[in-house]
Symmetry: C2
Subunit: 141 residues, 2 copies
DNA sequence: TATGTTATTGCAAAAAGTTGCAATAAGGAG
DNA sequence: CTCCTTATTGCAACTTTTTGCAATAACATA
């Protein structure tokens, strides 16, 4: 299934329009499969779609995140990176070498329930990044 | 105990210097007790210390965070806010009204142990922000 | 108390991200 | 297929954050 076929109905269903810009950006996220910074997205997407502006990239990434097609993640420097939305997961990142691994959401379920009953909040967010030292960097300490 | 008396030895112990800029910024964080953005810190601190630059504020906040005197927190918009380092805690923030509450670190201890044994990482970071809907905003849904 | 070392700051310029508004184009209706 | 509405984009100006480098000042030592 092409990106257009996959994502257009999702936008339409919410009353939004599919545009060449959104498609190009979704395409980049979809096929990269990794976290990308806005400027990485801009760089890749504008190769396919000349005339794309960085403003649009910023706005589109935020838009896609709000509508569940992309996930924003903090990667420790206070800035966002984005990835295509797949299964819910979190990240664990090494403070020293930057190595990064996925954490299944299931591991957090208990905590989420505990927080909800303690606070009365309903937790909505699917992305948390934890920081630590990876096994390798622990040796070098 | 004054800010100078409290924080100077902590910097010295690590081989760093106390400066009027660092003191002014620590003073602001210490007495505000809340999260502040870099520009809020700049605004308050430069009232006490004319000539302070924003560059220095950014650099100092990062420096203080690295050395455990301040804590950075993601507050959901991709930017950092800072607060003076007290006990370890986390935050739970409402996506709608922005209301914010503290989460005791003890609640995360089990999860941290679980993550460590599952990953081999040693978790170092003390700040995580969770997002959800506060009891009030859940009603209005 | 004066001196030397070097951590720290300020400045200027660049990079990254945001905002308002007029022009454009997606896509429903005729 | 054409027209109309309005969501979306691009532009330009602006705000926020980062970086390199020379000048400054903290403080250890004598």
């Amino acid at each position: 299934m092409s990106c257009a076929e996959e994502y257009t109905p999702q936008l339409r269903a919410r009353g939004y329009r599919m545009t060449s810009q959104r498609l190009a950006i979704l395409h980049v996220l979809h096929h990269s499969g990794k976290h990308l910074t806005p400027s990485q997205v801009y760089e890749k997407a504008s190769r396919k779609l000349g005339g794309l502006t960085e403003t649009t990239v910023y706005r589109t990434l935020e838009f896609l995140a709000e509508n569940g097609l992309a996930r924003p993640a903090h990667m420790g420097n206070g800035h966002f990176v984005y990835e295509i939305a797949r299964h819910e997961h979190h990240h664990l990142k090494c403070r020293i070498c930057g190595d990064e691994m996925e954490v299944k959401h299931a591991l957090l379920e208990k905590l989420y329930r505990k927080l909800e009953s303690a606070s009365g909040y309903r937790l909505t967010d699917s992305h948390v990044t934890f920081f630590g030292l990876c096994p390798n960097c622990q040796k070098g300490e």
